[in-house]
């Protein structure tokens, strides 16, 4: 029972040999592993996916009907919405495991480039986050009372000021619980990356169990707890903000 080694491996990973670290990519992503890498991948996916999701969500937003637009602008907006909708529906219909495998196995035969697994992970989960986030963004903006738009125009607010000072803060407040839940889902689903050799905690746990079958109970316990504790804490936080949102709506 060398539980200290196991625990260290599960939390921080087993560092690779210095000569096997690829200098073209950030070293800290290659030398960390375990729960630390899980958290890193979650963090980067949420950042990149956040940008993608906001963009997709704004593209997919229903156009305000009463504004007058030129035919060209309507055409461009409609086309962009169609494209974004197709992309979102396509990616949402795929199981995350399949998305991860596609991102891992397609780049080499199609583009002829080899992408290191941790970047594949960040890419796949950015897509995943972005697509689900676009749905949240859309419904967040839909929850805003259309009367506010008239009020803003009556007060003479320029559209940009109205968007940043009125619409965005309200929509963000409405989206908060869903955003936290999405973060939990992404955090949990990064375990799928164990199937493509990203050294995150599930992968390390599987390898450790294969090498030391006697210590299975310890390894499984540590894996389950290190997913369960952060996810539960965040979901408690989400349900608290949900109650706050409910209060806001009933006021």
């Amino acid at each position: 029972m060398n539980w200290e080694t196991h625990l260290r491996g599960l939390m921080l990973g087993y560092p690779p040999l210095p000569e096997s670290v690829n200098r073209d990519y950030p070293a800290f992503l290659q030398t960390t592993g375990g729960l630390a890498l899980t958290l890193l991948i979650t963090f980067f996916s949420l950042i990149f996916g956040g940008a993608l999701g906001t963009l997709l969500g704004l593209l997919r937003r229903d156009a305000p009907k009463e504004t007058r637009r030129t035919l060209l602008r309507r055409g461009v907006e409609g086309g962009a919405r169609l494209l974004a909708n197709g992309f979102v529906e396509g990616v949402r219909g795929l199981p995350i495991m399949l998305l991860v495998l596609l991102c891992y196995y397609l780049p080499y035969p199609v583009l002829g480039v080899r992408i290191p697994p941790f970047l594949v992970g960040i890419f796949a989960f950015s897509l995943y986050t972005g697509v689900y986030l676009s749905e949240i963004v859309r419904s967040g903006f839909r929850s805003i009372d259309p009367g506010l738009r008239y009020a803003g125009r009556t007060l003479g607010l320029p559209p940009r000021i109205f968007f940043f000072k009125v619409e965005l803060p309200l929509a963000l407040r409405a989206m908060k619980p869903d955003l936290i839940n999405l973060a939990i889902t992404v955090f949990k689903d990064t375990s799928t990356l164990a199937m493509v050799g990203v050294a995150e905690i599930t992968y390390i746990g599987r390898q450790t169990m294969a090498a030391h079958p006697k210590d299975y109970a310890l390894v499984l316990g540590v894996i389950l707890i290190s997913y369960w504790v952060p996810a539960t804490l965040l979901s408690l936080f989400a349900s608290r903000t949900e109650k706050a949102r409910f209060k806001m709506e009933t006021l």
Binding site: L94, L98, Y105, L106, I184, S191, A194, L224, T232, S235
Partner: protein, 238 residues
């Protein structure tokens, strides 16, 4: 750059046979684990709404535990942990060929927790006045639940239920981590088996992707129709 050859790697024997068998296994897994999850979720819901504190705590604990654990580690627990504990307690090896059962149990445990949570939201959204009306008419508590509460609750949360069951179908791809025998692999498992033999991933993966897109569409339509039928039952009775 390699040319894509669907005719050779997907629509030719023996690969087409493997993939079709995989599709049928995916369907079986989706339906069986979906039904298992529905039964499990229903009983957890009854526990959460129970008068006894013990059952409420049990139901709540189940939901918090299984909702916040990802499915792959859960499957690892079922694959390694359960046989290990079995060996220690009984002193005998865990029976073989139980991988499929364990996989279905894992999927049902995960989805059951979500379904219980969704159904609870639905039950709480049914107006309390309806319960009073039922009691005034002299209906038994069981009849109130069966005839008034559940059909409306299901209708209210139908979109969430549907999307969770579709999610369950997609989760069957997590079987990739389970060492299933070859004839029990689901579609992605068969795809990766082809990839292992032919060293080509594009064609089988695209096939699996198409299968899942179509399944999501078909299951979504079927489940939505079923949810609407539930509401028709309430209106017909009124």
């Amino acid at each position: 750059m390699k040319s894509v050859d669907f005719a050779k790697y997907v629509f030719d024997e023996p690969y087409l046979g493997w993939l079709l068998r995989g599709v049928s296994m995916t369907l079986v897994m989706a339906v069986v684990s979906g039904i298992g999850a529905a039964i499990l979720g229903f009983w957890v819901l009854r526990g959460e709404l129970s008068r006894w504190r013990f059952f409420r705590t049990l139901g709540g604990a189940y939901v918090t535990v299984f909702r916040n654990v990802p499915i792959l580690p859960l499957l690892l627990l079922l694959m390694f942990g359960v046989p290990g504990v079995w060996l220690r307690w009984t002193g005998r090896e865990f029976p073989r060929d139980f991988e499929l059962v364990m996989l279905l149990v894992g999927l049902s445990l995960n989805t059951g927790a979500y379904l219980a949570e969704i159904l609870r939201a639905g039950v709480q959204a049914v107006s309390p006045l309806q319960l009073e009306a039922g009691r005034t008419l002299g209906l038994s508590p069981g009849a109130i639940r069966r005839k008034i509460v559940y059909p409306q609750a299901i209708r209210i949360v139908a979109p969430a239920l549907t999307s969770r069951l579709i999610h369950n179908t997609k989760n069957s791809t997590m079987a990739l981590i389970v060492p299933l025998p070859l004839h029990q692999l689901e579609v992605l498992g068969q795809a990766s088996r082809i990839a292992g033999e032919t060293f080509t991933w594009i064609e089988p993966l695209c096939f699996a992707a198409c299968v899942h897109l179509v399944l999501a569409l078909v299951f979504g339509q079927a489940l939505n129709r079923w949810a609407r039928g539930q509401q028709a039952r309430v209106e017909g009775a009124a």
